[in-house]
């Protein structure tokens, strides 16, 4: 950790730890996925926590004379009962996990075959580690449990406070007293001796998570999810080594329990690319373990692209935040990837097609390589105010896709028509607008992001407005969460929120409600990053449609595959199915024929996916504004 880069997580330490411990006690970090697994984990967690006390009592019992007389009465009975029950909890829980890891072997525990693995991991290190840890827990708890049954046999009968041990009792009643005595000793030594034996292995094993996870959770990032860390050293941005990562991201490797939850939700892994956020953390850990002595010197400076993650994997990430959100121990594999990208881009190592797009963003201010003057082409015949010339209540930051992309501009026009019909005083800044730079930052081009942001901020300074509105969640995120650090502080509102406001205030009258049902896709940068889940749903329901949720919804939403700059990159050769196509199938599986989006990029992604997956006839992709537009009965103006 000391090799890592500084990061300040030392504010409000007591609160941070109190909150983390409370969350751990409630097992809250696990809650968002895998319910069955969580129940068994909870068994083990409580059982094992209680065993801390059990072990202390066992040692006292052995070494304190007359312990039996001191330690009795209701307290001892209660303790025995708990110890007895928790033993079974742990044993059952552990058997469940070992069965899962070794017998049922769910596919999610495996890595795509093209994922870079540390040699130790490739040799089955994770399974061996699971076996050692599992075996330790089984033997440790099991022998104590058997031990207490033996003690009952010695005492001569069952004890209502040791119900499960009493069930075992008949096995031992026939035993000779001498042998009994010796076996009791053996179980005691086995239970406690194992701990001594296990201690040296403990820090290297996944079991260390029970110490590191709470610390990691306590010290987690408290800045908005959508704001990336500033570059530490502008002369060498990002990092390709452990030593160059902020230290909490080095700690992540020790907190990792190798559960693979993160890659289960990862759109890149799911679609067959060589990226597994889980493998990244595990590889880091194996590297540190293998080089424990030299990590301080050279190991921490070895290029992570050699042992932790392949360059192709780095370029497969959609920066969707799913892995960070789901990780029960608060790890941030995505942030490692983004640091790697910063470093790669600085050294000019990136896919060719990305260089092209960055060049046009630099030269033209948009990712389409078009003259920025054509940015307002879609406004033709709509009579929209120029916010550079007159004051407006609402400054509409349109964003690249909504302005240039042909499958989006019809939607963009509808937004304008709805706002006009609702009497909103709004304007756009036409060719003055540059890409907000959200995804530029996420491909790692920090300098270009700053340059775009500075140009936008400079122009916005000169405009008079109350709020900024945008339909693009990526733009929304940059303006809201990242511009403040560069001096641009605005009140930013997403159109979904604005629509709810206008409907509730009566400015929008939905006189011709629609009928039928529909599903809604939560855009990553609206939902997971910025917590806006209800507004678009409210709009949909107000327009008269019945909302049917897909299995992966709200914070568990599945990325369309376009984020983090992927929309500019070619699909990886190994891609088996595009995330957007999987999502269309997911929507069909809940029996809807309307797929609703609230993001211009989603409009292009999903209209394409509906076509390429051959479901164009069965499902139509619409923007929430389409609903409002038709429920208001607006007659559009032809462009």
């Amino acid at each position: 950790m000391r090799q890592g880069q500084p990061a300040d997580r030392s504010d409000k330490l007591p609160t941070r730890f109190a909150r983390a411990l409370l969350e751990v006690a409630m097992q809250k970090p696990l809650a968002s996925a895998r319910p069955l697994v969580n129940i068994f984990h909870t068994f083990i967690f409580f059982g094992f926590s209680f065993y801390l006390l059990v072990n202390v009592v066992d040692v006292l019992e052995a070494f304190v004379p007359n312990w039996e007389t001191i330690w009795q009465g209701p307290l001892a009975d209660g303790f025995n009962l708990l110890a007895d029950l928790f033993s079974v909890f742990v044993l059952v829980g552990m058997l469940f996990f070992l069965h899962r890891r070794f017998i049922t072997k769910p596919k999610v525990l495996e890595f795509n075959s093209n994922v870079l693995l540390h040699p130790g991991v490739a040799a089955g290190g994770v399974r061996r580690d699971s076996l050692i840890v599992g075996g330790f827990i089984l033997l440790h708890v099991g022998s104590r449990w058997v031990g207490s049954a033996l003690q009952l046999a010695e005492a001569g009968g069952p004890d209502p406070w040791l119900p499960t041990a009493s069930i075992l009792l008949p096995l031992f009643t026939e035993m000779e007293p001498g042998l009994l005595e010796q076996t009791i000793r053996a179980t005691w030594w086995l239970a406690l001796g194992l701990i001594l034996l296990f201690i040296p292995y403990f820090p290297r094993s996944k079991h260390i998570h029970l110490m590191v996870a709470p610390v990691n959770l306590a010290l987690r990032r408290e800045t908005p999810r959508g704001a990336l860390d500033a570059v530490q050293d502008p002369a060498q941005p990002g990092s390709t080594t452990l030593a160059g990562l902020p230290w909490p991201q080095v700690l992540d490797a020790f907190a990792c329990i190798m559960c693979t939850r993160c890659h289960e939700v990862c759109p890149a892994h799911e679609s067959g690319t060589p990226l597994s956020p889980s493998a990244l953390e595990i590889n880091k850990r194996y590297h540190i373990n293998a080089h424990a002595t030299e990590v301080a010197a050279s190991g921490a400076r070895q290029n992570m692209l050699e042992y932790a993650i392949s360059p192709d994997a780095v370029w497969s990430c959609t920066a969707c935040y799913a892995c960070v959100q789901i990780c029960p121990v608060g790890n941030e594999p995505m942030h490692d990837i983004l640091e790697l990208r910063r470093s790669l881009v600085f050294d000019g190592k990136m896919p060719d097609e990305l260089g092209e797009v960055l060049r046009s963003l630099d030269e033209q201010g948009n990712s389409f390589g078009e003259s920025n003057r054509r940015r307002s082409k879609w406004t033709r015949k709509l009579n929209i105010k120029d916010a550079r010339k007159e004051a407006v209540d609402l400054l509409w930051f349109v964003g690249d896709f909504a302005s240039f992309n042909q499958s989006c501009t019809a939607t963009t026009r509808k937004v304008a028509e709805v706002l006009t019909a609702a009497g909103v005083d709004f304007g756009v800044i036409r060719k003055g607008e540059r890409s907000a730079g959200n995804d530029v930052r996420r491909v790692g081009e920090e300098g270009l992001f700053e340059s775009l942001a500075e140009q936008n901020i400079e122009l916005l300074e000169k405009c008079e407005f109350d709020r900024i509105m945008t339909t693009d969640p990526h733009t929304y995120n940059a303006l809201k969460n990242e511009y403040p650090a560069l001096g641009g502080e605005y009140e930013v509102v997403h159109y979904s929120t604005l629509l709810v406001e206008l409907i509730e205030g009566g400015a929008i009258q939905l006189e011709q409600p629609l009928a039928g049902n529909a599903t809604f896709h939560d855009p990553c940068y609206l939902g997971r990053y910025n917590g806006i889940y209800d507004a678009p749903r409210e709009v949909i329901e107000r327009c008269g449609l019945a909302l049917v949720e897909m299995p992966r919804n709200r914070e568990n939403s599945f990325c369309c595959g376009a984020g983090g700059g992927q929309i500019w990159l070619n699909d990886h050769d190994d891609m088996t199915q595009r995330p957007s196509e999987m999502r269309i199938e997911e929507a069909l599986s809940v029996g809807v024929s309307r797929f609703l989006v609230a993001c211009p990029k989603d409009m292009t992604m999903y209209s394409d996916a509906a076509k390429t997956s051959g479901h164009e006839e069965e499902i139509v992709v619409e923007d929430i504004i389409d609903l409002v537009h038709s429920a208001m009965g607006i007659e559009g103006v032809a462009a």
């Binding site: 502008p234 000019g348 260089g355 300098g447 700053e450």
Partner: protein, 246 residues
Amino acid sequence: MKIAVLLKMVPDLVEELEVDSTGKALDTEELKFKLNEFDDHALEEALLLGGEEDEVVALALEGEGNEKLLFTALAKGASRAVQLTGVQPGGSGEQATAFAAALAESSFDLILTGVQSVDDREGQLGPLLAARMGLPCVSVVTGVSVTDGGATVNKEYSGGVMAEFEVTLPAVLGIQSAQQPPRYAPVSKVRQMQQTATIESLTVGGAGGGAESEVTAMAPPEVGASAKMLDDAAALLEVLRGEGVA
């Protein structure tokens, strides 16, 4: 080895071009400039040729945006950047004279420039420069490899015919395309260069350019009669019948 690369800014064709009130030139008010794409290829080829020991020097005439251009060349890996001052940028002949004066002072092995540019369609800069300096010149080059005392260059003729030339060094080469697409210079790095690196400046006399061609009129192309889209074969037949063809 010492390689010089000549860079210049040209109007960005992504923008709509307008002719100014003289009717002889573009309206520069509304223009946006960018690096000539062939010069970008020349720079890329130079960077690919240049090894650890070699020196790649980027040169540009003084002008708006040229500093950023030179910092970008440094960010991509050029060893030095030089801006030529004291010249009124004019046609290719004047530019060739200015560059020749600048290059005469140091001994370069290779001088690379873009084969042409939107304001020099004939690609005169390379040949004129070579003539002024008394050096051999090959244009429309798509590949260079340096041999002992010379270079082997590939030249592309129209129709996809390729030729291979041996040239003695020093030589001037007009580059059509580099062996790799020109690299992207991260803005982070350009900004860093702007803070840490310096651009050398070299004053060259404003010697004349010799014979120049003169623009007498400039106008956007005539828009032809608009095309009509037909829906199906029947409509096509109808048109043909109307014309008396079928």
